[in-house]
């Protein structure tokens, strides 16, 4: 009995000591003045980076009475760097807007994000401001889940002027529905050590599609039985290759993936077929790798088992964490027929129906959304997450463009294209299936592509039917 008591007391003391060690960032003092009014001030200590050094800045702000504080909820999926970056932005936002408190819900695994949103909506709980993939905008708008972007956040002119052109492409029904902090583009990663081992110049990655074919073959290493030891270039349709095909290769071969109004699939043209044939040849004829080997193409690159890899800027973070010693470089996507293109995409933030129900919450949500999408916020984001600022002023930053890793992604921003998705996962699936049909069942590339186009057109027709 005595022993148990001893343990409980020591635990309590230990807890107290721990609590005392916590850095005190916010101090609230209440001063009762003669008129009996309660005046509250808050001392905010912020960590600010000045000239590369972290400096603590303390200031005093007025805090409204507890009853006037509006609480809003913000949701995003869990990804360490994103959570950190957003916590930082929320801290700054709350310091500047003491009447708003933001609940940050990021305890949602990436794969479950849509499920959780879908489960929260019928119960009318959930986010006031939500982060969503831009490709989901049409579906969310269709359901009436998002409200049109209020003019107080940005007007159409402001978006056209200040944001990367791909953001303009998410206009729907004559309105904007969401606005991003950061955007991503695709570029080509190459493993310098493997280039050297294959007798190639480690500083000369492929710059056009012919060189890509040539180098991919030189870089692939086989054992005696013909098994691949090192992949020159594995194509990964479930990864980024379906984007590479639609928005890059089709355009480079002189075609267009979709009609101007996004209602018609056009990649099943002779040009599109040429592009598709180019893409599948790496696996079907040249045997330079496969997404089936080494778990997938991304893992293969991280493990140093593939020499060339096409991926987005978001991969930089996972390389830094999972393969810090990888000796790699990044360059803009290879060109052909003098046409440069890359796929642009972004996670964007919208205001939900729930926020719009209460004017005070709507106002707080508007201020919050505006705050997290400024050029300054974008600059913080690029530091923490490796995604590029969505605002052009921040993305055109000279330091950013000169950065050997981030620079090529930033350089792609002016010519990046974003696909208009109505059902992103199904639209991706049709390209994956076309690719699989060619490599696994010897289907004719053009016929497989026609079938994909037919299936995708059905999805588009369904979406546009009631508009």
């Amino acid at each position: 009995m005595k022993k148990a008591l001893f343990y409980i007391v020591s635990l309590f003391v230990f807890g107290l000591v721990l609590a005392a060690c916590q850095p005190q960032t916010v101090e609230v003092t209440r001063v009762v003045t003669e008129t009996e009014e309660v005046e509250v001030t808050r001392v905010v200590t912020e960590t600010v980076v000045e000239e590369g050094e972290e400096v603590e800045v303390t200031r005093v702000v007025e805090v409204p009475a507890e009853s006037e504080v509006i609480t809003i909820e913000y949701w995003q999926y869990f990804f360490d760097a994103r959570v950190d970056a957003m916590n930082r932005l929320i801290q700054q936002f709350e310091a500047e807007n003491p009447d708003v408190r933001v609940i940050h819900n990021s305890d949602i695994p990436y794969a479950d994000f849509r499920d959780k949103i879908a489960a929260s909506a019928p119960a009318n709980v959930g986010p006031d401001v939500a982060t969503l993939f831009y490709g989901w905008i049409p579906a969310w708008v269709d359901a009436g889940y998002l409200i049109p972007l209020p003019e107080e956040v940005y007007t159409r002119e402001e978006i056209a002027e200040q944001f990367s052109p791909m953001v303009l492409q998410s206009e729907l029904d004559g309105e904007f529905w969401a606005v991003p902090t950061a955007v991503r583009t695709l570029a080509l990663f190459w493993n310098k050590d493997l280039f050297e081992a294959a007798g190639l110049d480690p500083e000369q990655p492929p710059t056009n599609l012919d060189e890509l074919v040539e180098m991919a073959q030189l870089l692939t290493e086989y054992d005696d039985a013909g098994n691949i030891l090192i992949q020159g270039f594995p194509v990964a349709p479930p990864g980024q290759a379906h984007h590479w095909f639609r928005e890059v290769l089709v355009r480079q071969y002189g075609g267009v993936p979709y009609s101007e109004d996004n209602r018609t699939v056009l990649y099943n043209s002779p040009e599109g077929c040429e592009a598709f044939t180019y893409m599948v040849q790496f696996e079907t004829e040249l045997n330079t790798g496969s997404n089936d080997l080494f778990e997938d193409a991304t893992q293969a690159f991280l493990q140093g088992k593939s020499a060339i890899h096409i991926d987005g800027s978001f991969r930089i973070g996972s390389i830094a964490t999972n393969a810090p010693d990888l000796n790699y470089g990044v360059i803009e996507l290879p060109v052909t027929n003098d046409i440069q293109s890359t796929f642009g995409s972004y996670w964007t933030h919208g205001i939900t129906r729930k926020a719009a129900e209460d004017p005070a919450r709507l106002d707080a949500s508007i201020r919050f959304l505006k705050f997290i999408t400024t050029a300054e916020s974008g600059a913080i984001w690029v530091d923490k997450v490796g995604e590029l600022p969505a605002q052009l002023t921040a993305a055109a930053d000279e330091d950013l463009l000169a950065d050997p890793i981030l620079g090529p992604f930033a350089a792609g921003l002016p010519y990046a294209n974003a696909t208009f998705f109505v059902d992103e996962s199904e639209q991706r699936q049709v390209i994956i299936d076309a690719y699989d049909a060619v490599r696994l069942t010897d289907a004719d590339p053009c016929e497989a592509l026609n079938e994909a186009a037919e299936r995708e057109q059905a999805l588009l027709d369904e979406f546009w039917a009631d508009r």
Binding site: R114, I117, A118, A121, A143, G144, A225, N227, F294, D433
Partner: protein, 300 residues
């Protein structure tokens, strides 16, 4: 106050205790099931505020999809039946074989039983991932073994011709332990006198098995067949974990009805169609179960 006898009070308390799980069943099982019927009659987007009633439109869509030989929905139904047709008998035959052997041995029988039962108590997700790695092309365990014996490597999960069978093998393997234990229990219940009588009549081993064991195992067989059929019809977790990004591929060759339900409901936000699929699956399970119960229990 009415005075109750001890017996009456016991009964009353039994009902009170039964009431609690009943509440659970009503609100967690039965109501959602009924609500799925309701949802299937709507164009139901979980994100939307209002859901429009569309009558049988979702079922009509389902009917059309089932007739379209290229549709994923049709593939899902065909695959699901294939899992049942291949997996269920295979599992019963292997489990019965092992149970008969285990019934013979005295030494280490507990050890063997534990070994066979172990996969059943392991998480399906863990098992799926381990097998996914075992099946890997080139460096997966099976392919290394094949190469070692000079045999050609196989794509297993990566080819539409092999993927479904590769997954079925895992399901059969994991479910063996459970079926074996049930069979063993059934075997132990068969009175020895029947076998003794059969021996006196001069029955061979095979005849003993055919005329004594099988008929007296009938109830066990029916129970297992129904249970395994239902579990194969509801297959989801193996497929979502063993295929690339859980897409039921390659080329939809492993996708199942429940996986389609999930994708339609939570990727395409079409709860109405997804519910129509669940209702169809419910009807199929019901019919198959009734047929099996009738068929097997009349063989006596």
């Amino acid at each position: 106050m009415i005075s109750l006898s001890i017996r009456q009070r016991q009964v009353m308390w039994a009902y009170i205790f039964l009431f609690v799980p009943m509440l659970f069943f009503i609100f967690i099982r039965i109501m959602p099931t009924l609500s799925a019927f309701n949802i299937s009659l709507h164009d139901w987007n979980p994100l939307a505020e209002e859901q429009t009633f569309v009558g049988l439109a979702n079922y009509q869509q389902l009917w059309e999809d089932l007739q379209d030989s290229n549709s994923v929905t049709r593939k899902a139904f065909v695959n699901t039946f294939q899992y049942v047709i291949v997996g269920m008998p295979l599992q019963l035959v292997i489990a019965l074989g092992i149970a008969l052997l285990l019934n013979e041995i005295k030494r280490f029988s507990t050890f063997f039983r534990a070994v066979y039962f172990l996969p059943f108590v392991t998480s399906t997700v863990a098992i799926s991932w381990v097998w996914r790695w075992l099946y890997q092309p080139q460096y997966g365990f099976f392919n290394v073994v094949l190469s070692f014996f000079g045999l050609s490597q196989q794509p297993f999960l990566k080819h539409p011709d092999q993927a479904l069978y590769s997954i079925t093998a895992v399901v059969v393997w994991q479910g063996l332990g459970f079926a074996i234990i049930i069979f063993l229990a059934g075997l132990k219940q068969i009175p020895q006198i029947y076998y003794e009588a059969a021996i006196i009549d001069g029955a061979t081993r095979l005849q003993k098995f055919r005329y004594v064991t099988i008929p007296l195992l009938n109830t066990t067989l029916v129970y297992l067949a129904v249970l395994q059929t239902i579990s194969f019809l509801r297959m989801f977790d193996y497929v979502i974990n063993m295929t690339t990004q859980g897409d039921g591929g390659p080329l939809g060759s492993t996708t199942t009805v429940t996986l389609r339900v999930y994708r339609e409901a939570f990727s395409s936000f079409d709860m109405g169609y997804a519910s129509a699929l669940t209702v169809a699956l419910f009807a199929i399970i019901l019919v198959i179960t009734i047929i099996q119960l009738r068929l097997f229990s009349t063989i006596d």
